[in-house]
Every structure is written in structure tokens, then in C-alpha cells.
Amino acid sequence: MHPVLRTALQRMGLSLLTLFLVSVIIFSSLAMLPGGFAETVLGQSATPETIAAFNHALGLDRPAYIRYFEWVAHALQGDFGYSYAGVGGSVKRSVADVIAPRLYNTFFLAIMTAIVAVPLALFLGVLTALYRNGWFDRIVNATTLTTIAMPEFFVAYVLMVLFAIKYRWFYSLSTIDPSTPFWEHVYRAVLPAVTLMLVTVAYMMRMTRAAIINLLASPHIEMARLKGISPAMIILRHALPNAWGPIVTVIAFSLAYLVVGVVVVEVVFVYPGIGQLMVDAVSSRDVPVVQGCTLIFAVTYIVLNLIADVIGVVTNPRLLHPK
């Protein structure tokens, strides 16, 4: 078998193992609940009968491993069970129905951010590496260090005050529903996307710069310099191709980070995505919804990390033959 394929399959197997462990943790955390879930939800005054009835209604009276495999089997088919919010009432809402439209919104926001953030970060990274230690580099460096240290909600509110309230260019709240036209959706998602961009560009740009500068000390760059090639050409033709591995890895990590940043930003701008849904579900302790959201976040995160890993190996053949 080709060594690249073998390594890729190996990493994939490891990711599947991690995913299995994560799903066990997500599932069993519910079983670890002190005093049982029913008691926590129904309160101190619940009689044993009501608790038994509640457990039976949710199927919680069967052994844990059976429920685990059932849960996984259903989750694989996109069925995450029913939201607890409807239990006891006449309307039963399935978790998948609750999550699906929101998932689309969240991916919309994440992709919109990535489309702008990745090229911008690469461009700034190359530029700061080219003019390293100059005033441009210093300014960009100080700015990115500061944006990294800021919580997302601070960046979000500052942008909101500036661009939605002082200058009324954008809406301060991103109200969106399925009937919103595409470009209107883009327009309303600008401020959340810019917030996420500021936070992720900082990471990606710094790592790109570091990866390129790391390479500038190597002999082949010195050779190129001695041949009299211009600094810009050296970076674009000789340094960048060798830096792709670490750069792409960082991009994948940053996109994985987007998944987390999205939670806070969605709450600030009341953007109807999966992050906001999860926070609401945590507040009302709607565990199936929380589990479904966590699983989706975890899968996205693990898959992006897997991609980063595989690309890192492919672009650096030395990793194929570990000592």
C-alpha cells in the first residue's frame, strides 16, 4: 500500500477511536448524574412513582449499554431523539428538526468567515514575514496579540457599537429565518463574521509568519539570496512551498476554533445558529439537544483536526517514516 494512504488510514482509525471515546463520554455523562436525571428535573418533591413514570417515558429504565448503542445507531441516521422540552406536552419535537436549520446557519457563518479570513491571514502572514521587524510588522503583531487576548464578546460589542449604532451600516442583531434571501443573509451576518474573522486571522497570520521565518534560516534560502533573487520572490517561490504543511495545519485548527467561537458570537448577535441553541438548551437542561449539539461540534472538530493531520503528513514526507 502507498505509505501516504497507509498513514491517512492510520490517522483515520485513531480519529474513529477518539470519536468513539468522545461519544461514550457524552453519553455516560448523563448516566453519571448524581441522583438520576428524573430527580434533578422533577425536583425534590417528586414521588418514586412519578420518577419511574418519567424514566419509563424517556426509556431511561433500561441498561446503559443498550441505550448507548441505540443512541449511536440513531445518531448515525441523523436521529438524536426527542427534545425534553416537549415531554409531557402534546407537541414532541425531534432534536434533528430543531438542529437542522440552525446547523445550516452556523455553517453558513463559518464558511463565510473562512472564505475571507484564510486568504487575508496568508496575505498578512507573507507580508509581515517579508517586512519582518519593520513598522508594518510591529503594528500587525501588536494588533494580533491584543485581539487574541480579547474575549469574543468584547470584540463583538465594540464592532456593534461602531458599525451598527454609531454608523448605521449594519444591523446590530442578525435576525434570520429560512425565508431570508441569500444576499440579505450575507448582509445580516457581516458583523458576526467580522468578529470571528478578527479572532481567527490573528492566529493564522502569526503562525504563517512564524512558519515562513523559520524556513528563512535554511541553506537553500541562503543560496537563493546569494543568487540575488529578490526577497519577495524568495518568500513566494522558495519559502512558501515548504511552509504549506504547517500553514494548512494551522488553517484547519483555526477553522476548528471557529466552531467554538461561534457559540459566543451567535449569542451576542442573536444569530439563530447551533451555538445559541446549545446555550439555550444548557440553560433549560434539555439534555438530548445538548448531546446532539455536542456531538456535532465534536465531529466537526475531530474531522478538521484529522484533515490537518493528514495534510501535515502529505506535505512533509519525513513524517511518513517515523524513527
Binding site: 468522545v22 496579540l145 460589542y157
Partner: protein, 294 residues
């Protein structure tokens, strides 16, 4: 860093003189960081003495404007509590919770990490796989899930964040300890018949402390930002306890009227994280500079 001083008799100087010498060489950003951190620590420790009003005391009408000549420097919040006092108490609560969680995570992480490095085998395997699985999920998402299950509350918050963060400390201390356990002096201690406790505390931990100290600063920032985010989302530190994250959330409706009150608390968070980052930056630069000299 390396150019300024040749091999001077620095080692013979007292510890106090060495510290003073380091400080005199500290860059402006490090001084700024130390001053900011000192002010925050002062506010946190002496909060009841500095704050003009009580933490949850209702002292006026809601949303009263502030100013130098007004009764309330920064105005009042939505139910008439003094924002300036709550900011000062917030230093105590927010930083306190983050600090306690970070310290617990370091105790657990270092203990388990060093033990795993000492006894490679099933213990190391099990712990490493658990840490890998916990690290495979974003901390904020995991914390949200655990808070949904165990319920909100200060104690749950501290325990959950400490355990989640301990996995990262575990990774680092295990890797650092791994390089130390193979050293001759550890072997010698073993042959001398020293117990595990001696080897861990007298041989290994002193030798892995340097990277862990700077890591402490970074982990603190991370925990602090996570707590602020969780509180902002309404599932972290609960009212009426004053806390910067929830103060932003409580007053966020003011933003739409162009009132900047919610940004005070957010600014307090930013200033502290920036300061800690500057300090860590300087410490890292210093330790790496010293390493170059050898």
C-alpha cells in the same frame, strides 16, 4: 539579550539583587503588565475597603448615569446597583474562581502527569487516552455540556474547568517529566532506595518547574476567558454575585442605545488578559534567552 552581559559573576549575587537586576532590564510591556496585575490583585484582596457600596446592594434607581460628581462613578445597573462597586467585587470573584480552578488543575495535572511518566504502562496508557479524548473536544463546548448535566453553580464550574484544564497540564508535565525520569540522578535516587514521593517532589518536579510556571500564566488566561464566556452566556457564575462576564450580559441592552456601560466589565477582562500575556511573553523570552547563553 545575550550581547549585553558577558559571563559576569551574576551567580554569586544574592537572590534579591538578581531579581532587581532582572526587573531593571524588563521591557516597558512587562512593567505595564506587572503594574496592571498588582492593581487587580489589590482590588481583589481589599474589595470591601475600596468599593463605595455593597456587592449586591441596591443603592438607587435603575440605569442612573454616572460621572465624577455623581454619587455613582460609573452609574447604576438595571436594578440600581453601583457598577463601580460591582466591578471591584468582580475582580475578587472572577479572578478568584479562575485562580482556584487553575491551581486545582495544576495539582491534578502535574501529579498524574509525573506519575504517568514514572510508571509507563497501563496507568500511562489509560490516562493518556482519557486526556486525548477530553482534548478532542473544544473546552467551552464540553464545559457547556457538563454544566447542563450537573447544573449551574460556582462549585460545579470550578471542578469542571479544573478537570478539563488538567488534561492540558497533564500533557505538558508528562512530556517534561519524561525527559527527566531518564536522567542519571533519578536512576541514582532509585538505586539509593528513595520512595516515589521523594523522586517526584525532590528530583522531578524541581526540574520541570520552569516551563510549568509560564504555562500557568497561559492556562490562567484560558480558564479566565472561559469562565467569562460561560458567565456571559448565563451558565457560569450566577447572580447576584458580581462577575465581569455576567455584568456584560446583564447590561447588554444598553449597547443598542449607544451606552458603553457593558464595555467597562468587558474592558476589565481584556486589560487583565493582555497584561498576563505580556508578562508571560517576557518570561518566555527571558527563559529562552538564558537557555541560549548556556
Amino acid at each position: 539579550m545575550t550581547a549585553g552581559h558577558p559571563k559576569s559573576p551574576r551567580a554569586r549575587r544574592g537572590r534579591f539583587a538578581a531579581v532587581r537586576r532582572e526587573l531593571s532590564k524588563a521591557p516597558l510591556s512587562a512593567w505595564f503588565a506587572m503594574i496592571v496585575i498588582a492593581i487587580y490583585a489589590f482590588c481583589a484582596i481589599f474589595a470591601p475597603l475600596i468599593a463605595p457600596h455593597g456587592e449586591a446592594e441596591i443603592v438607587g434607581k435603575g440605569y442612573m448615569p454616572g460621572g465624577w460628581h455623581a454619587d455613582f462613578l460609573l452609574g447604576t445597573d438595571q436594578i440600581g446597583r453601583d457598577i463601580f462597586s460591582r466591578l471591584i467585587y468582580g475582580a475578587r470573584n472572577t479572578i478568584g474562581v479562575a485562580l482556584v480552578a487553575t491551581i486545582i488543575s495544576f495539582f491534578i495535572g502535574i501529579a498524574v502527569g509525573v506519575l504517568a511518566a514514572l510508571n509507563r504502562g497501563w496507568f500511562d496508557q489509560v490516562m493518556s487516552r482519557i486526556a486525548d479524548a477530553l482534548l478532542a473536544m473544544p473546552a467551552l463546548i464540553f464545559a457547556l455540556m457538563l454544566l447542563a448535566i450537573f447544573g449551574k453553580g460556582m462549585l460545579n464550574l470550578i471542578v469542571i474547568l479544573a478537570l478539563l484544564d488538567a488534561t492540558r497540564v497533564f500533557r505538558l508535565s508528562r512530556a517534561a517529566a519524561m525527559n527527566v525520569v531518564v536522567m542519571d540522578f533519578v536512576e541514582a535516587a532509585r538505586l539509593r532506595g528513595e520512595g516515589t514521593g521523594w523522586i517526584v517532589f525532590k528530583e522531578i518536579i524541581p526540574n520541570i518547574l520552569a516551563p510549568l510556571v509560564t504555562e500557568f500564566g497561559l492556562r490562567f488566561c484560558f480558564v479566565f476567558l472561559t469562565i467569562s464566556a460561560l458567565s456571559f452566556l448565563g451558565v457560569g457564575i450566577q447572580p447576584p454575585t458580581a462577575d465581569w462576564g455576567s455584568m456584560v450580559a446583564e447590561n447588554k441592552s444598553l449597547i443598542t442605545y449607544g451606552n458603553l456601560t457593558p464595555l467597562y466589565a468587558a474592558g476589565a477582562i481584556v486589560l487583565l488578559t493582555v497584561a498576563v500575556n505580556f508578562l508571560v511573553d517576557w518570561l518566555l523570552y527571558r527563559t529562552s534567552g538564558l537557555r541560549d547563553e548556556q
